[in-house]
Amino acid sequence: MEAMDLIVTAVKTAIIYLGMVQVVPIMLIVERRGAALIQDRPGPNRVGPFGLFQPIADVIKMMMKEVTIPRQVNKALYLLGPFLVLFPASLVIAAIPFGDFFTLFDRNYVLQVANIDVGILYVLAIGSLGIYGILFGGWASNNKFSLIGAMRSSSQIISYEIPLGLAACSAVVWYGSFSLREMVSIQEGTLLGVLPNWGIFYQPLGFLLFFIAAFAETNRLPFDLPESEAELVAGFHTEYGAMDFGTFFMAEYMNMATMSGLMVSMYFGGWHLPWISDATLLQWLGSRNLLAALQVLTVIVKIAVFMLIFVWVRWTIPRFRFDQLMRLAWKNLIPLGLFNLVLTALILYFKGAA
């Protein structure tokens, strides 16, 4: 039975990880077609029906290109850079819960790579490591644009980690748990009989802060200062080509997916469908594993909605200037985050007293 557990866990991990990697090609086409839609142009539509095979062509192109190493770079750190970005991006996925559990051979397995009891801390901790790839990659490129991109990235990510952490703190205080799994389980049911019992209705300000900070953490457009192509050529990855560049690209999309997964678990009820409790669903479906499949589907759909919002925002809101970016973080988001934390604590205090 021990060996069975090990095999099931390994297969589960592989499936979740490979599934998350599929985000990259899907987002490649969604982003390009989405941009085209917003900018009122056709977009890539030549390869396959509706241009659906475009990502395959893109990937083949990137894989076939020669990996060139510029002469002036610091070789070791230059080659390490992309992997330092991809490594944390892949690790973080382990903490996202995709569903309750499934049953196989009379044993229950959680639909999550690892049920870490300090899940949210794990995500924040590992997520904050992604910056090193950008920093070392940008520095090792020995190019002033890369270096400026790396410098911007470090100050930006350190600044936005604070509102992100404060929002997460409020959520932790509210749910009384560090575990993402427990947070999701609390969100079952309805609020006042009308609204789904989701975190967003209890922590609207926290969600807003988290949402804004998530864009900065993933270097997405209103805050893509580290790579702003209009100012810095391509920022920290100016000197990278072929699959090294592709790795940065993959990491960005995987980070987006994780951030979306985090928001879904913390504020949008995770695997719960609105208004329908798991027990009723189980009655309708009659099978635990069918319910698990439905839960996974729910989480995927919710994550997909967030990914679409990421694309939508990217092509709608212009880039911030660097001082505006810093002012937003330090003068607006952080005070709001502190206020939200105190407010949450006060509400809980008076709720406990009543």
Partner: protein, 169 residues
């Protein structure tokens, strides 16, 4: 199993820590520092303190070393010329080695139970309860200290005059 893993992490941590001291290039030093903090976090994890392991990565590698790397890259330092071994250098090295041998002797001669101890999981609730009851005052003083530090940093790093054409805040 746990002991072997612990040994591997220990050796890794020490190797990385010596990398910090021995590398000429401060960027490599910072990189070794990251690795050694990672090793430490692994050690905390093996001791059962998941919380501290995460805090170690979140605060040390995620924030403090980023500051180091940021400053090193901002100043774009070439390697600072180190001293050739002179008398002072030898005295310093001797002092460190002396202290090391003293401490290691103490560790080796003390009767430490050389058996596998039962690893408890950390009791986050107990810790936080203590932090907000018995140790409330130190905790509050700490927050005051942080406030003072923030003001101090602003005072230290503030450039004296606003540069020409710079935006006034």
């Amino acid at each position: 199993m746990r002991e072997t893993l612990f040994m591997v992490f220990s050796l890794f941590t020490i190797a990385a820590a010596s990398g910090v001291v021995l590398s000429r290039n401060p960027v490599y030093s910072a990189f070794s520092l990251i690795l050694s903090f990672f090793g430490l976090s692994g050690l905390y994890l093996l001791w059962g303190s998941t919380f501290m392991a995460m805090i170690q990565i979140l605060i040390y590698t995620g924030a403090i070393v980023v500051l180091f790397v940021f400053v090193v890259m901002l100043l774009n330092l070439q390697t600072v010329r180190e001293n050739s071994p002179n008398l002072l250098f030898l005295v310093g090295a001797a002092a460190a080695v002396w202290l090391f041998s003293l401490m290691i002797l103490r560790v080796l001669t003390r009767a430490i139970p050389n058996k596998a101890v039962e690893i408890p999981t950390d009791q986050l609730r107990a810790i936080s309860k203590l932090l907000f009851t018995r140790y409330l005052w130190p905790f509050e003083v700490l927050s005051l200290f942080l406030l003072v530090m923030i003001v101090a940093i602003f005072a230290i790093t503030r450039t004296q005059e606003i540069p020409q054409g710079g935006e006034k805040k």
